[in-house]
Subunit: 122 residues, 2 copies
């Protein structure tokens, strides 16, 4: 049994580290938890780290896209960071994308992307 | 099969989010990965988030203490954050501690603790 994927707060950014190969229900639960957390903490952005994810199928890809669409509606863009090269190759081969989720190489660059987006809105 | 617990970098701090109930070999692998990462990135601190951990036995407790001792020798103190109340109760009942690891309520406070430690050394 997998526990819920934890949502960490760092200032007004939420950080999620997806580990192993998440099951469908884990990602569904994450969507709920993240929408609650964005509103509760007034988050201005979400970073989803997938460093440890080796397989992303079309369901997980669609769910990440759905999460990104949802957080954007809540004014908190999602950045997916840490994609393994093999995952990128598979996604490109399958023609999958994360919809409205942007991607950045790593956590540092994801944070910079969110800071830049915030500054641009001032 | 569990993959290795990922080590994220945020500036010069390493962040590890332990999920589920880690097996002994996962924590052993984490110790190696963290020592490598501290040196490679010149990290000034390590934050281990245990928000999603519901059970900490004496082995895991000792390993967290060993990790904290190791990172301190490398001049990068470890802060354990996100402990569930039930975990704290169990640790207190068993008389366990994390040795040299400090604890903070959450990621924000853990980061503040590391910043404070750095400023104090200037």
């Amino acid at each position: 049994m997998m526990d819920r994927i934890p949502v960490l707060e760092l200032g007004d950014v939420l950080i999620v580290s997806i580990q192993g190969d998440p099951q469908d229900q884990d990602v569904l639960a994450l969507r709920e938890d993240l929408s609650d957390a964005v509103v509760r903490h007034g988050a201005r952005g979400v970073i989803i780290d997938i460093t440890a994810v080796e397989i992303i199928d079309s369901f997980i890809g669609r769910m990440l896209a759905a999460i990104a669409d949802m957080t954007r509606l809540l004014d908190a863009p999602t950045v997916v960071v840490g994609m393994q090269p093999a995952v990128a190759i598979t996604l490109a081969e399958l023609g999958l994308s994360f919809g409205g989720a942007r991607t950045a190489l790593n956590l540092d660059r994801g944070m910079a992307m969110l800071n830049h987006a915030r500054d641009a809105r001032k």
